[in-house]
């Protein structure tokens, strides 16, 4: 009951292509959840399902404890969404956009929107077509936060931004999430960005969740085992890829290793690569 989002066996098909193939994950309330995956892994589809833009072909969706087949318009009023591309009406200014969007949200806070524009340094009376990509993304964030939603969905919002703008945006998200206690679901393929922002991470590969958990917990569960001689994973361990194995933290602590074996903890990027890479693992000789 403490999960803001719970997806169970979610399926979405585009013709013969299975975009989501039994995806299950849970996002606790108040957390910033980093949703990692390669291009085409199913991140955007998951977010579009959560926004009610795409209908799921199977599985269940639970938002704030309410199960549903499809996200309704009423539920969408409680969700803020920032997409990869900001497809605003080019002739509208941020102020006009605010007025237009406000009409769809009973909880819209005009003062908050004005404050957000000010804090995010967005010129309110310049047409959106004249704004830079980073500023448009900030407008998207302000539009998403002004109705004070309990859930914020961010679909690779910084993919087109330079590193400075990306860091600035992420900092704002973290600060506002902390300020309001909202749940943030951040999809990205930039591991460093997710590592710096998220408290919890899920990795999606080919429409399925490969692994999820708190970032420090993942580091305990997935490690590299470098052995002098070829070594098979003992019971309770599973090989993720080549010399990267997965097991409970307790199993790692209790395990005894042959002489000459080194066990390394991994940064999140290595863990992501171990789960996301699909090419053949490099041989020891290579």
């Amino acid at each position: 009951m403490d999960d803001a989002i719970r997806l169970t066996d979610l399926e979405v098909r585009y013709g013969r292509v299975r975009a989501l193939d039994g995806l299950s994950l849970a996002v606790p309330r108040g957390e910033i959840y980093g949703f990692l995956g390669r291009n085409g892994a199913g991140k955007t589809t998951t977010l579009r399902v959560l926004m009610g833009i795409v209908r799921a072909d199977g599985g269940t969706i639970e938002l704030f404890g309410k199960p549903m087949k499809r996200v309704s318009v009423a539920t969408k009023r409680g969700i803020g969404y920032v997409s990869q591309e900001q497809n605003f009406y080019p002739w509208m200014t941020p102020r006009q956009l605010g007025r237009f969007v406000a009409a769809f949200y009973p909880s819209w806070d005009d003062a908050e929107y004005a404050r957000l524009l000010r804090v995010l340094d967005v010129p309110p009376d310049r047409r959106t077509v004249q704004l830079s990509g980073g500023t448009r993304t900030k407008v998207g964030l302000a539009l998403a936060l002004a109705p004070r939603p309990p859930l914020l969905l961010l679909d690779e919002p910084t993919s087109g931004l330079d590193p400075v703008a990306r860091r600035e945006f992420d900092d704002r998200v973290v600060a506002m999430a902390a300020e309001r206690g909202i749940t943030v679901f951040l999809s990205s393929h930039h591991v460093d960005e997710v590592e710096g922002v998220a408290t919890r991470v899920g990795i999606i590969q080919a429409g399925r969740a490969s692994i999820e958990g708190r970032v420090d917990d993942l580091r305990k569960r997935v490690r590299r085992v470098l052995a002098a001689a070829p070594l098979e994973p003992p019971p309770g361990f599973a090989r993720v890829r080549a010399d990267v194995w997965q097991a409970d933290g307790a199993a790692w602590e209790a395990a005894s290793w042959p002489e000459g074996t080194t066990v390394q903890t991994l940064p999140l990027e290595e863990i992501f690569l171990a789960f996301a890479r699909t090419d053949a693992p490099a041989t020891a000789a290579a």
């Binding site: 585009y14 579009r48 926004m51 833009i53 795409v54 209908r55 318009v73 009423a74 969408k76 009023r77 969404y81 997409s83 591309e85 900001q86 497809n87 605003f88 009406y89 080019p90 002739w91 237009f100 969007v101 009409a103 769809f104 949200y105």
Partner: protein, 570 residues
């Protein structure tokens, strides 16, 4: 309906739509002024609905529906808490309401205009209003559907326009009998009679189907279909669409439809009513009533039997005007612009079989919409016409063979299938004789019944549309009958050889005639063109002075020459 969305649409498209409606108002005024001179109470409204409303519907669909997808702002709209159905319905209903509003204003303006010159009760004007509203609903529904097809929308509009054109032009369906347009027919224009209920039902059914189609495109696959279709056309798609459009238009107009004209009316001369045709022949000096009646009966018998034999669906009146002073070999057919029939001017001493042959030739030419004159069948047309005119006259047949035997030029297959050129080379007399020989040889090879069966296939009335491309070519029809052009040419040559043997004595008595045309340029006298014929005591030359503006070589002046040499009077 969504009020915030309506406000957004008004802000986004208000200026463009206001300008469009202003133009429509000016057009309406012009149409009313024009229609006032034509009479009819609601002609102006009808014209407005036919011309301006489709354009308005196109503009509205582009602005309200298409633009959201091509500009990708639909993706932004979908992130807002508004249902896809509600957003689509708001836009669709807004467009429909605006179109109906303009139609209502046009109706009010027309009514006001009509009341300046006559008393017109509002009740009488309600019918046209209902027609206009139903028509607008159907047009808007179609525009909405086409709009949801994104980059293919103009192709759909073009296809419908082309279909309407083909239906009226080739199908012969009156424009105001077409679905939806039936609502704007003369009854509505005069406000005297409402169209039948079926006209409304058909228009409403089309509107419902189009609206449902547009909704499916907007909503199916979570709206992905409309987004995909909204992408710009690729160069390959543009080229394909243009080529397809031009190909359809070209194929559709392969043949001009046969005009429907009243029959030529025969009011004088000796007349004879045959089974299918009426023939009139006017007596003249040296061509008395009995001769005229005899010729009329012979022509009617020829035409009736040929129509039966070939199953032709033509029954033209035939009128022959014998005139003194015409050369006996010269026959002219009158061009009848406004009537259907065969009217010939001939010499009083013209050979009867020639006149009868020309009537039959004209009959088949008209029945085949001139396609009987195509070079791959022309020799068979000339041959059949002469064969039929001489079918019971053994003397004329033998004379024809004698003329054919006198031809020294070899006549292989290539000469027969390029008959226009060959007949010009041979001259009328020998060309007709050779053509007769060819058809006679055909009958000799496959029998009269199969020859007529072949003629029925070749000389049928062709469809005046693309189906004409599917008809079997004469060579294939000949092959199916068990003969090809080479064998036919060989049979005809053998017939000529046999005739040469039978008429060797007559052929040997032929005068040796040679002809030449020379031109001389003499100082002080200009250019002279001289004709010389050796072996003929007298002859006639027909000529025409050619200039850059000469377009017609017919009706040429005649020069009679006594002796060998003549100089054309240039």
């Amino acid at each position: 309906m969504s009020l915030p969305l309506l406000r957004k649409e008004a802000h986004e498209h208000g200026a463009v739509l206001a300008a469009t409606f202003l133009i429509a108002a000016v057009a309406m005024y012009v149409l009313l002024e024009t229609a006032a001179r034509m009479g009819g109470r609601f002609v102006g409204l009808s014209r407005y609905l036919l011309t301006i409303v489709p354009l308005l519907a196109l503009v509205l669909a582009n602005r309200l529906l298409v633009r959201e997808y091509t500009g990708r702002t639909q993706f932004f709209l979908e992130t807002l808490p508004i249902g896809r159905v509600r957003a689509f319905a708001t836009k669709w209903l807004l467009g429909c309401a605006l179109l109906l509003l303009t139609a209502w204003l046009a109706w009010v303006a027309t009514l006001d205009f009509a009341r300046r010159s006559e008393v017109l009760a509002s009740a009488d004007a309600r019918g046209p209003l209902l027609c206009a509203a139903t028509y607008c609903l159907a047009v808007w529904s179609f525009a909405g559907l086409a709009g949801m097809l994104g980059r293919f929308r103009y192709i759909v509009w073009g296809a419908v326009a082309l279909a309407a054109l083909l239906a009226t032009d080739i199908g012969g369906i009156p424009f105001f009998d077409l679905p939806v347009f039936r609502l704007l027919g003369p009854g509505m224009q005069m406000a005297v009679a409402m169209p039948e209920r079926s006209a409304f039902l058909v228009a409403l059914a089309i509107a419902a189907a189009c609206a449902a189609g547009a909704a499916v495109l907007a909503l199916a696959g979570s709206g992905a279909m409309a987004s995909t279709l909204a992408r710009r056309m690729t160069t390959r798609e543009i080229v394909f669409a243009l080529v397809a459009f031009l190909a359809v238009a070209t194929v559709a107009y392969t043949l001009d439809p046969k005009p429907v004209r009243p029959p030529f009316e025969i009011v004088e001369g000796e007349q004879f009513q045959g089974k299918w045709v009426t023939v009139g022949v006017r007596p003249a000096a040296a061509f008395d009533a009995a001769a005229a009646q005899g010729l009329a009966r012979a022509i009617a018998a020829d035409a009736d039997t040929l129509i039966d034999a070939l199953h032709l669906d033509v029954h033209p009146p035939v009128f022959v005007l014998p005139q003194r002073g015409l050369d006996r070999e010269v026959m002219q057919r009158a061009a009848l612009g406004e009537a259907d029939g065969i009217v010939l001017k001939v010499a009083t001493n013209a050979p009867a079989e020639n006149v009868r042959m020309l009537v039959l030739h004209s009959l088949i030419t008209d029945a085949t919409l001139q396609r009987g004159m195509k070079d791959d069948r022309h020799v068979l047309l000339d041959g059949l016409a002469s064969f039929w005119a001489m079918r019971d006259d053994e003397r004329a047949r033998e004379l024809s063979w004698l003329r054919a035997a006198a031809v020294d030029v070899p006549l292989p297959k290539e000469r027969l299938t390029a008959w226009s050129e060959t007949s010009e080379l041979l001259g009328d007399c020998q060309a007709v004789a050779v053509a007769f020989g060819v058809f006679d040889a055909l009958v000799g090879r496959i029998g009269l019944d199969r020859a007529l069966e072949l003629a029925r296939e070749i000389f049928t009335t062709p469809p005046d549309d693309a189906r004409v491309l599917l008809e079997r070519r004469p060579a294939a029809a000949l092959a199916a009958a068990g003969i090809d052009w080479n064998e036919l040419a060989a049979d005809a040559a053998a017939g000529r050889d046999a005739a040469r043997a039978r008429h060797a004595a007559e052929l040997a008595r032929r005068p040796k005639i040679t002809a030449s045309v020379d031109w001389h340029s003499k100082p002080g006298r200009g250019t002279e063109i001289e004709t010389t014929l050796t072996g003929a005591p007298r002859y006639a030359a027909y000529y025409r002075v050619l200039t850059p503006w000469t377009t017609d070589a017919g009706d040429m002046p005649r020069l009679d020459v006594i002796g060998a040499r003549g100089v054309l009077p240039l």
